[in-house]
Symmetry: C2
Subunit: 445 residues, 2 copies
């Protein structure tokens, strides 16, 4: 979170396997790929996110003297292996889809090529970082599609699953098109605009709702958003109208009111009428309270006069789909393609690439999943981003990722932009890949 996360944040089996490889001098080059096995029912597409934090992790993965002493005293590891860990550095190559890229089932979004000890060791944290950020970006993109042109603010920190989820979730939502976050650390660390004004407790702590509003307006004159549902929403809206002229006298405008409970559409309509009748036609209505893409879409469909939404818990926990069926799997070792055949979990072997075709209007028309060695037409989606443990060049900025995602959402076929389940996007498995899978099976049979 603040700086380095311990290298002990890993599954024990990574370390026991590594010692196994080292003991038997198995350290040829391995190729692993991260992909999602199948799309969840409620997702027509996914949005890649988390690459920046993965590369940062790979650049800085080390074992500290304290961590090494701890591993030594567990009695599980031999000196040779501990010495190996002491000098551990990631020295491999990474190919990846850019953050903000739309992708589908079976398509790798990250490929790591490195000596097997390194490529295996990083599995746990690579999945931990890519899975969560991709999960949230994919959810947030649906909210963005449901609310075109509206202000969208991430409110999810408090019920996100821990500190890192709150921080990286804010970042993933920003990539997917959110305008900002309530999370101040997201502004400090990533420059994501932070938003927020008052909680119910601020109103409750005052003896009187009007004085809470007036008091707040004077302390934050450039950011007057008043929370009006602590006691009676419409009564509070009338208090706002009464207050407005006094504030105007002091040069303060009421930018918005926020409603956080009850029937949001109904309240918004009534509050809009009260504000308009009181001359506050430019004061926005901002809504929050257990929202997600379905609630937001329903509110807008009903014509609720809401111009901004705070979307929190359900987005940062991706509550309808709280995890993806993703994997980081060995595809090649020592020059030979590998394939897992476990029931329901078989993988396509070898180093892969994804090519995407577009139709005449620039919409995505179909992908081909093929071997990296095959040449296909279309746009190749995986690019080299790290070579020999170093970044190859300037990585896209967070704003680049956000722009790419916006363009990707525009290029989606209309059916996939719907919140409803749409027929699958066409992903063709190349002939070379099918032949390689058959050859690997034959060799194993």
């Amino acid at each position: 979170m603040n700086g380095r996360v311990s290298s002990l944040l890993t599954d024990l089996y990574q370390l026991t396997m590594l010692q196994g490889y080292l003991d038997s001098h198995m350290d040829e080059v391995a190729v692993y790929e991260f992909f999602v096995r199948r799309l969840p029912e409620n997702r027509n597409f996914l949005v890649a996110a988390g690459l920046e934090s993965v590369l940062d992790y790979l650049l800085h993965a080390r074992f500290s003297p304290d961590e090494l002493r701890f591993l030594e005293q567990t009695g599980r590891f031999n000196d040779r292996f501990l010495h190996y860990l002491e000098n551990f550095r990631f020295s491999g190559d990474v190919h990846a889809m850019a953050e903000g890229r739309v992708f589908f089932a079976d398509e790798p979004i990250l490929r790591i090529t490195a000596p097997i000890l390194e490529a295996q060791f990083v599995e746990t944290r690579v999945i931990n970082l890519l899975h969560y950020q991709t999960l949230v970006a994919s959810k947030a993109a649906r909210v963005r599609l449901a609310a075109p042109g509206r202000l969208l603010v991430d409110f999810g920190l408090r019920r996100a699953h821990g500190a890192e989820a709150g921080l990286l979730g804010a970042r993933a939502a920003f990539i997917a098109g959110f305008d900002g976050s309530s999370n101040v650390l997201a502004e400090y660390r990533f420059g994501i605009p932070s938003y927020g004004t008052m909680a119910h407790s601020f109103v409750q702590a005052h003896d009187d709702e009007s004085s809470a509003f007036e008091h707040f307006a004077h302390t934050q004159p450039n950011n007057v958003v008043l929370l009006i549902d602590t006691y009676d929403t419409e009564a509070a809206a009338r208090k706002v109208v009464e207050l407005a002229p006094r504030l105007q006298g002091a040069g303060i405008a009421i930018r918005a009111v926020r409603i956080d409970s009850g029937d949001l559409a109904e309240h918004a309509r009534k509050v809009r009428a009260i504000l308009d009748a009181g001359g506050l036609t430019t004061t926005h209505i901002f809504a929050s309270g257990n929202l997600d893409e379905y609630e937001v879409a329903a509110l807008l469909e009903k014509g609720a006069p809401i111009t901004g939404f705070g979307v929190g818990t359900r987005m940062l926990t991706s509550s309808d789909v709280p995890y993806l069926d993703c994997a980081y799997k060995l595809m090649e070792y020592a020059g030979h393609a590998r394939r897992k055949r476990s029931e329901g979990k078989a993988t396509w072997p070898g180093r892969k690439q994804v090519y995407r075709e577009y139709d005449a209007e620039g919409r995505m028309a179909g992908d081909t999943l093929c071997l990296d060695s095959e040449g296909y037409s279309g746009e190749p989606l995986l690019e080299l981003v790290m070579k020999g443990g170093r970044r190859t060049e300037r990585l896209p900025t967070l704003h680049d990722a956000r722009r790419l995602c916006a363009r990707e959402l525009e290029r989606l076929p209309d059916a996939l932009r719907s919140l409803d389940r749409a027929g699958p996007y066409p992903v063709t498995i190349s002939r070379g890949l099918r032949e390689l899978a058959a050859a690997v099976d034959e060799h194993r049979a």
Copy 2:
């Protein structure tokens, strides 16, 4: 994660409200309580967890010079407020339920009494810590109830929502009765036993499954758990039987085999028969692969000969209930009880206590939610754990919390121990509390 999490990990509105309070010299004592508004459909009870990390946060909450410079350059805050933050310390009192305690809707598990600037500021991180750990402990307790006497290991790190979720989730599961975790950092930081042996990639990296097994056994002779579902589960079990005598010659026993895919009950039965026929009657069968309390219960009901389970993603994401409807609300300010009346979100005012009665067999018989000033019979569940910003005494250890939770699960009424929805546990609202709520409403009306 490693040490301090930034104090900027907060919602912007905490800071804007604080400046508001400071500007108008409002810094009387406030009382806030954390509680869950209603139990999710799939939870008959909840298990309190996260207190230790909350107290640690309160003890160390500070603003660094870098963080203060950042806040200054946003232009949102005045010098007086920045100076206040420079000297920020939490100086309040904390009453709380012990970690591992079973609790129900509306019952506060934490009460903070402090000058309002401090008590308000800590809201975001207090919720972020208590919500997630309580969520996971409550889920893990159900897995424990579904698998009495079985070895239970947390496998959730990779798909947990970030680093902190992986670490604190392992701790919450351990409190609720798990035996350990795959997460090495959880052992390093909390002394939670770590478990793990090999992944499919270890088998795949070898040309031959038998040599992968043999090789692994020699490198981890005290921890031989062989993963047998990479290609063909029953065929692999026969390879294990063939290998056993050679390993026995070297003094190595095969402790267990692990199955991670397919029909686990069916595979376990067939594998058990193969192992038994081969004389490996003491070799355990360990199962994993998208398990939760429902899957575990179904496997045991079918009589599957499985003695241990790895439970991962669905537990650390609490996938059927990925968030709780929890809140941290102002209950009293400057000696006056406060109450929020927002639709569907009304709260009970005042400083509260929970008393629990037990029946003749020691089972929980009913709780009373009352004012702290009322005296009721039964066991009071909230205790003073921090006074004037300092811990009052030795806090229970992690093992104390785990023992308390085990005892709590034993004391649950039978109906609540079921995975099915049971009638609600009786929580009575005291007369004093009802009268106070009415009085507060009248004052506001």
